[in-house]
Amino acid sequence: MAEVALKLEQLETMMGNVQEDGLAHLATDTVHYNPAELYSWLDNMLTELNPPAASGSKVNNSFFTGGGEYDLKAIPGSAICRRSNQFPVDSSNRVVGTTVTTTTASESTRPLILVDSQDNGVRLVHALMACAEAVQSSNLTLAEALVKQIGFLAVSQAGAMRKVATYFAEALARRIYRLSPPQTQIDHSLSDTLQMHFYMHFYETCPYLKFAHFTANQAILEAFEGKKRVHVIDFSMNQGLQWPALMQALALREGGPPSFRLTGIGPPAADNSDHLHEVGCKLAQLAEAIHVEFEYRGFVANSLADLDASMLELRPSETEAVAVNSVFELHKLLGRPGGIEKVFGVVKQIKPVIFTVVEQESNHNGPVFLDRFTESLHYYSTLFDSLEGAPSSQDKVMSEVYLGKQICNLVACEGPDRVERHETLSQWSNRFGSSGFVPAHLGSNAFKQASTLLALFNRGEGYRVEENNGCLMLSWHTRPLITTSAWKLSAVH
């Protein structure tokens, strides 16, 4: 233990030196997990802080008589044992790597070993996973301690990893302290204008929404070929950004534009304004400018499952071709028992020529919290990484806040409040298939257009379009992030 004492002494000197850097809280708040690993932990701490050669420093007893968090008894014994089991291979590798030069602890000067933030990055991910596991097993004391550590480790990272870790840490903290506000589709904490701005910035900064809109529009356009009267029912109205491009394509199609009817469905506005009506007015303005006959109806619904086909004023299918569109909305129904089945039933009553669906490509709806956490950590890390190329930092921040809300809901909420229940294409395919839908393949036109669109984005070299069983996936490097698929009713229905 003499070596440990010496190391603690050196650490204390250094902590004193870096007081102004704000790392002092590391001196008081750190959690020691396993006495046997204390030596290696101290080694790592010292190398990270790159100390000057420490020689003959005063022993400061306050270090040993410090606050309760140094008291290892505060951490339940089983937690420590479990904790040490969690880094079986990695930590020992790290230990080997960094303690090679410190065989004799009586040295007062230590050779400097530069440890880059990679180690901290690995430590950060491990801390996040450990915290999630602690939360899952309701070990809230440990989880709380870990969340604090995550905060400090996150600061040592740069770029995407820091932001992702911060959002996940905040979401974990909310879960631990049960601070999450009811995260329903209506987020009353933000005003509508602010929400709109986040959405618009997200729309402009990265290609995800544009990809979704353009690929869905292409499928709808092809399905509407030759039809004189068309009707689109949009489950994800938002600001109506998808429809100008479709209306323009319809205006210029061969044979002239059809008569275009749009039914927009969305959640109620926080300030009770008739925001859907406003969107309709603006779209009508556009339609008049480009000479497309336009009709609009807006519906406010807390959940898509509240809809009935009778509300939609459907006209006979001989006169009007209908398309149903849903961009990032269907997954919200999965938390409500019978929700998705009800909506599928309504869609079947509508008898659309095409049902376009865009969803996130990841399984965030597993029964085990830790699995959901792991999947979403990978998913959002990739997503944030792709945002790094955005030229304007303000846009980047807005987009990150937009995504951060999803992370918060995913991690901090449970039951009906947890609406971000993403599922993969294969899971959705099963659902659609067993409900009487068959896939409608998105053609090569959609693929080509999507590829050109992605090439226009600033970091076009990272984005890829992939075709998967007739569906189009947008990937960042090799990781698919969103999928556009199109469905039609099987002949039986």
């Binding site: 900064t205 323009q248 394509a249």
Partner: protein
Amino acid sequence: MSKKRIGMVEKSNNKRQRVNLVPEFSINDHHDVLVEILRRLDGPSLCSAACVCRLWSAVARNDSIWEELCFRQVSPRPSLSIRSVVSALGGYRRLYFLCIRPFLARLPKILWSQDQLQLSLSLYCVHYYERIYVGAAPPSSLMFLRMPVNVV
């Protein structure tokens, strides 16, 4: 206005005769000819031409010149209905500056075809909608097309 110039010619018998010379031609007097010439220029040259003088700048605002530029090398030739849509959305000159020029700058090797033009038109339409929706030109509209340092 062309001025008739009267010149003096020395003849062999030392008499001098008045001769009508060819009237002076100034391109600035013939806007339609100027438009025809400008219509055949490429993008950068057209932009330079528009900076020559106030008259040329005004003439260069003729949308048919920019229409020609946008449709060059696009086959098959797009239908005339496009013209009414584009002029409703703000005209060809705007379309060129907002969408087509950044598009070509970002993807210089791309074969400019009907598909590319349609995509540009869609983006132009979205931009128009964003302007009427937000009220003023939103700062980020079509921002993704602009390169960080655009010296074009």
